[in-house]
Amino acid sequence: MLSNIALWVDERLHVSKLFASTAGHTVPASAGSWFYVFGSGTLLCFLIQIVTGICLAFVYVPSADEAYTSLEYLNYQQPLGWFLRALHYWGSNFMVAIMAVHMTQVFLFGAYKYPRELTWISGCVLLLLTLGMAFTGQIMRFDQDAYWGLGIGASITGRTPLIGPNLVHLLLAGPIIAGETLSRFFTLHVFVIPGLLIALISLHLRLVLTKGINEYPQPGTVVRKDTYEQEYEAVLKKEGVPFYPAAIGKDLVFSGVVLLGIVACAAYFGPKGPEGIPDPTQIDTVPAPDFFFLWIYAALALLPGYMETFLLLIAPVLGIALLFALPFLSNTGEKSARQRPVAVLSVMLLFLTLGTLISLGTYAPWSPHMEAWSGAPTPVQYVQGRSPLELQGALVLQNKQCRNCHSLGGTGGLRGPALDGVATRLTDDQLIRQVIQGGGNMPAYGKNLTPPEVTALVAFMQTLRPANEPMARNAARSAGRGPQDK
């Protein structure tokens, strides 16, 4: 009975023929490797995002006034709303991560070379669109991070020469962040970019079918334009197997693992936020992006000022152009990573850079700890046995927000150096100069400290050294005179 229905449907839809040319297409047996599972993994994450996104859109309200309330409703009142939010959040983290691994694998396996240039290029566009989804998705979680993140996006966009202000108005849907801004990003996140993604994924998959999946690269086997097609046909003839059911096993296993991973993370860690209410008058906030943009966050904090506009506007264009041009710069030749040291070193350099920047971004040492001046007490050992003048200096150190950037006893800001051993590094003259004139990342306090306050402060800081270490000595003064010779 069922087989009759199946035959009836197939007679009209020709599904079995379609299946044979898509899921059942021939792949080299060597392509049934664990390294090849990341493409389907990324696609799975995208499908999860679509399904969970639709579920969230049943409840979420993309209005500047109500978005936050609807998010809280999803978290605390909608049955399993927290779980759907968590799935969508972790799904996005997994998707960006697996996409990065997929791209790295394709690069290291030379699969961008002839004749798969368009597959690589469409993949690069997919990378940009996915990052676009990540950025617009963060804005959907409309809290303080999202509100100020919009301002940051606008400020970066505003640095474009000539049309900067116009682009800002286009991005924000007006002169300033308002209700329409959120709607604009909602439309991008739900309609425009997913539509483009679906179209491009279809193209990407079609190219995989028309040009075949890359055979596992062997060191010594070189790609040549005039011989590649025949060589690939020969490989398929010799060791070709239908993708379904012969080579799909590892993809299925990895997909299962990813799915379980997303569910486990969602169930254990739960959703992210929403954090503070997106009320601009709540200025006691430290905005930060999700992990996939922490590297930009760190880079913008650490770059010297003169490089910034160039790096913000020119470097991405150059980088993307380089990515797009890659298949033409390295069109033929070796595919195996073992014979391509430049490729391997580039990947290592990229991962090291991104990894360092992302890990710095997680704790943002450049950010002053805004409550440390009143919340981090002077460690007890630094007030014991001090003279009254030195104790007044300790008070000045706390009161003038020095602890926001400097730590004592492990608590306080990390913007400037820890002051625990400052007396071993700077003499009293150097301390006075540094406090009054500032320098580097430190502002000048000269106008905001009276001379007695400076004296007290420096006197206190001169007591900050381990007992067994000598103080910094001013070699220009003769030995045996002055307070530093204690």
């Binding site: 606008a154 202000p165 800002v168 008058t281 770059l303 950010s367």
Partner: protein, 181 residues
């Protein structure tokens, strides 16, 4: 010579080679009509989508921040105002803060909340008389000038006026480096 046979069938003139036929006329007329209709549709749609690209006038409405007496001399206080270009569904996002520094008498400086580096909200500290930005560690002095960190210039300042004992500022736009207040 690449094989273009698949594309040949698209040209109706080649279907009936004996001059202009009804088919050919209908095809050309159809294309032309649709081209006109598409243009008439596309222009307003593009105008709608990119309406905010064309900044129509310099945005700046005069907004009251409160009585001058509310701002003590030699102090910097946070004031808030409602965005004059608000939409009905803005809610709390239309409340914009700013820092008001009264120097003496009717001499003021009103700073935008946005750091000049990338727009994060700066915080004022009375004791050290510094504005500190949480995002990338930018610091500004009491008069708004740049003290340290990545910001390329001092704080953005609103144009202000005192009328009938009230402090007014000209605002309503997000300040950026290319379009400061």
């Amino acid at each position: 010579m690449k094989d273009i046979t698949p594309f040949v069938g698209l040209n109706p003139q080649q279907v009936s080679p004996a001059g202009v036929s009804r088919r050919g006329f209908l095809f050309t007329a159809g294309v032309a009509l649709n081209a006109i209709a598409a243009t008439l549709l596309a222009i307003p749609v593009i105008g709608y989508v990119f309406s905010s690209f064309r900044r129509r006038e310099p945005y700046g409405a005069w907004i009251a921040l409160g009585a001058v007496a509310h701002f003590p001399e030699q102090q910097t206080r946070l004031a808030t105002y409602r965005n004059p270009y608000t939409r009905p569904w803005d809610g709390k996002t239309a409340d914009i803060p700013c820092w008001v520094r009264r120097i003496a008498g009717e001499q003021f400086q009103v700073f935008a909340i946005n750091c000049t580096h990338l727009g994060c909200p700066v915080r004022w500290f009375q004791e050290s008389r510094l504005f500190m930005c949480p995002c990338h560690g930018g610091v500004f002095y009491e008069d708004g000038s740049h003290a340290s960190g990545p910001p390329p210039r001092g704080l953005y300042e609103y144009a202000y006026k005192i009328e009938q004992g009230q402090l007014w500022i000209q605002g309503g736009r997000l300040p950026t480096l290319s379009e400061p207040l």
